[in-house]
Symmetry: C2
Subunit: 500 residues, 2 copies
């Protein structure tokens, strides 16, 4: 045991150092690297990927993992959880033939460019062949990894969110479909009366930066252990707890975009930064899962960031920076704008209420694509049909419909559902949090320290040392229950839109 | 042969990928990394350093290098040069006992902080013990690496500039001492009459950035394969030819500082960026030596950047940006400021003419420290004595004297002389260039393309595939001759200071 544990830890230490370096290089690529560097960079990173693969598949390491897996009952909770995950990863590495890996890398090296071109040309046909190859690959990928417990699309769902399968997601989305689709229709019919012309005025990047720094500080982002920069698309990158970074993108004519980006990304960042130091040297020093991570970013973005008390507290500052543009804009008007509901085509621009319907649509299509009940050639038609069903508007361009997201071009099937699941987790946490602290009173304060501390104590500190299901139990005292999400949305938007 | 060549190339490819990644992480550390990340980063990079060491000292790699070294006559020029250098590095790795390496790493992990504190307190005593340990280590280091050809301080000199020894440097510095020390005295006695009060006005960082971007473009820095950012101290970092980066630091009250930083660093960057693509996969895809690199940065900074025609061409733009501050400043006045000569204490702030005297002082002291003819306890006294001899002014504070540079605290002995040597190389290149192109006419043009092309063709493209001596022969058609440097300086400053 002692010997295997030492071997395992030795290899873990090495792998973590590689992941660390690769993350820094990745950050550099997304933020400042010049466009002409990527061919060479790809080559060099390819060599490093081979080095990592050699370590991951080293006989001694595999033996140690297998030994520890067989003796997992003797390990402490955190390590047992880690070993089970490592064993899963290892099996994956060993079950998929090397040639498939190589072929898929070749496929994915050009697929996102082909997708981008097709999107630009609004022509799904131009992406169809490539997507067909990707779907075929994912179907084979599933076959390689299927077990008695995990079959079909569940293999992919479990990769992104351990423990979530078609059964659970169906329950989740069925509830959303039943409750939210009709509710959204009501909200859209009712409508809201407010001035939104000011929102598309020009807001100087310099001023937007100031506002972003302000909210970063309100949410208590630790500037000694992280930075904020610009990138094409906002993201968070954590290199362990000591260095967690966020990016924002500034659009001159969309001043809300950078505000909600910085709040969203800070949510991710707080999670990464507040994992317990005891987990530093393990693979658990990050978020527990995709949805758990998204639950934190959405908690900050929507539950805090679009809250009436929170905005009432901070609107005066926003107004003081954007003096001219917001001169005649009342808080009530601003609050309505921030929480406006619209039937819109683009997921990433959707409001809090309609967002899960966008995700549901993708989930339904993925499920059918993976079990073969629809084929790629029918995808656009199916997309547009479902979209009309949920939103009551007709998709006119592929770039507004089936081609809008990058995910499928990179082979990410099973990822989308975690976005909606994260929002649902967040609402369940909110419910639990309210039993311990006076949430609305906290939002009237200078910063969110007390709220942060609750999330740290109940979620963040555990990092990835617990499964999402275990974490949900620890944090909320019960199993995942999507009813909290539905109740939250219907309650909030009934008030804003004065619906009985 | 075939087999050994393949093994060698395989290991080289791996090492290059590690160096690439480590350079990107290093860049990140120097530019944006948050202060709280460095403990963790040090740990992770330590693990990677071990990985690299394992590869460097792998039996197969060593055997391949030894084989290729023994058969070096059968290799092409570039590869032979590389193998000879690799063999040198290998011997170094093998000759220094592991315990010495570990002990020295511990020593250097705290030495620069101790130096910084001593400098802050203006107290050499506080650094004395640490420097004593460093000097003792370097003396032992020399002993480990001495050969029949290379003894004493020469071991260190050769590390920074292949082929340069005490003999050559003595000749070089003796000429400088003989010609420049009396000339500098004349210049300082003569003085120059111009307004310099405007130079310490406040110049907005935003404007300084604009000017830096302007000069970056004038010198044809390739923005597709490089970026410019800010850092505490300006530097250049090249990750192969496809990604070469420079940094600048903006001081609001020193507008010349950022201009000459960007020109200097672009000189380094052009060198790195224009190494022939054929050398991409080799260890020769960078500059040939410290002095050769410095020759390029100084060529741009001083020979181009402080040239009368060049400045006449670009002063109108500078003036257009700094409208208010430069309103009443004539070109003649500006030119005199840019080329003013002063007896000053700080090397990094020294002018072109007195600069080599600062370096000479350090060379003399290092030489004596290494052969034991002076000891650390006497260093401050010796520094101040020599300084008075060369500059005629008395050092009053250790931070202005013996404690001003970081180099010794990091164990860099033998480095300083390359700074002056680089300037001397540059002047010899200028002499050769003038035979091929109308240098002064080129400086009147929009950009320095034609000058760049000469340097690319004669120096840059060879990367590190030639020794500095070979490169000097290729570029100038003769051996290194410091007379060009002395002539250039005396000629230029005689004109500016109207000295017969």
């Amino acid at each position: 045991m002692e010997k295997n544990l030492n071997i395992y830890k030795q290899y873990r230490k090495r792998l973590k150092a590689y992941y660390y370096m690769m993350s820094v290089v990745g950050w550099d690529s997304e933020t400042v690297a010049p466009i002409g560097c990527f061919e060479e960079r790809g080559k060099q990173m390819g060599v490093i990927a081979e080095e990592v693969y050699k370590i991951q598949t080293d006989k001694d390491f595999i033996e140690a993992i297998n030994f520890l897996y067989d003796h997992r009952d003797e390990l402490d909770d955190a390590l047992r959880h880690e070993i089970v995950n490592q064993k899963k990863e290892l099996d994956k590495t060993l079950k998929i033939p090397m040639q498939e890996i190589i072929d898929s890398q070749i496929l994915f090296s050009s697929s996102s460019n082909i997708w981008a071109q097709a999107k630009k040309d609004n022509d799904f046909k131009k992406f169809e062949d490539t997507l067909e190859k990707i779907v075929q690959f994912k179907r084979r990928y599933i076959k390689y990894l299927e077990t008695d417990e995990l079959k079909g699309y569940n293999v992919l769902l479990d990769e992104f969110e351990e423990g979530m399968s078609i059964k659970e997601y169906d329950q989740f989305f069925n509830l959303l479909r039943e409750k939210l689709v009709p509710f959204v229709k009501k909200v859209l019919e009712k409508g809201n009366d407010f001035n939104k012309e000011f929102a598309s005025k020009k807001y100087k990047v310099e001023d937007q930066k100031k506002i972003c720094e302000y909210f970063r500080d309100v949410l208590c982002f630790d500037k000694n252990h992280g930075i904020m920069m610009e990138s094409e698309h906002p993201f968070t990158s954590g290199f362990g707890q000591s260095d967690v970074r966020i990016t924002v993108h500034y659009y001159e004519k969309e001043f809300l975009s950078s505000i909600y980006s910085v709040i969203h990304e800070t949510g991710h960042a707080l999670y990464e930064a507040n994992v317990s130091d005891e987990l530093s040297d393990t693979f658990a020093n990050g978020g527990a899962s995709m949805a758990m991570h998204e639950s934190q970013s959405r908690f900050y973005e929507n539950i805090i960031g679009r809250d009436e008390n929170f905005l009432k507290k901070h609107y005066p500052y926003i107004k003081s920076v954007y003096k001219k543009n917001l001169k005649d804009v009342s808080f009530e008007n601003f609050y309505k704008l921030v929480n406006k509901v619209e039937a819109s085509f683009i997921r990433t621009e959707a409001d809090e209420l309609t967002y899960p319907l966008h995700v549901m649509l993708r989930y339904e299509l993925e499920k059918k694509l993976m079990d073969g009940s629809i084929e790629v050639k029918d995808l656009e038609k199916e997309w547009n049909k479902l979209f009309y069903e949920y939103f009551g508007i007709k998709v006119k361009k592929a770039s507004q419909g089936v081609l809008q997201d990058v995910h499928w071009s990179g082979g990410s099937f099973g990822y989308f559902p975690t976005y909606a699941l994260g929002s649902a987790y967040a609402c369940q946490f909110l419910n639990a949090m309210k039993k311990d602290i006076d949430f609305e009173e906290e939002l009237k304060k200078e910063n969110t320290l007390v709220i942060n501390e609750w999330l740290i104590e109940k979620i963040h500190k555990y990092g990835a040392s617990k499964s999402p299901k275990e974490l949900m139990m620890i944090a909320s005292g019960e199993e995942f229950n999507p009813q909290y999400y539905v109740d939250y949305l219907i309650d909030k938007y009934s008030k804003i839109y004065s619906i009985e």
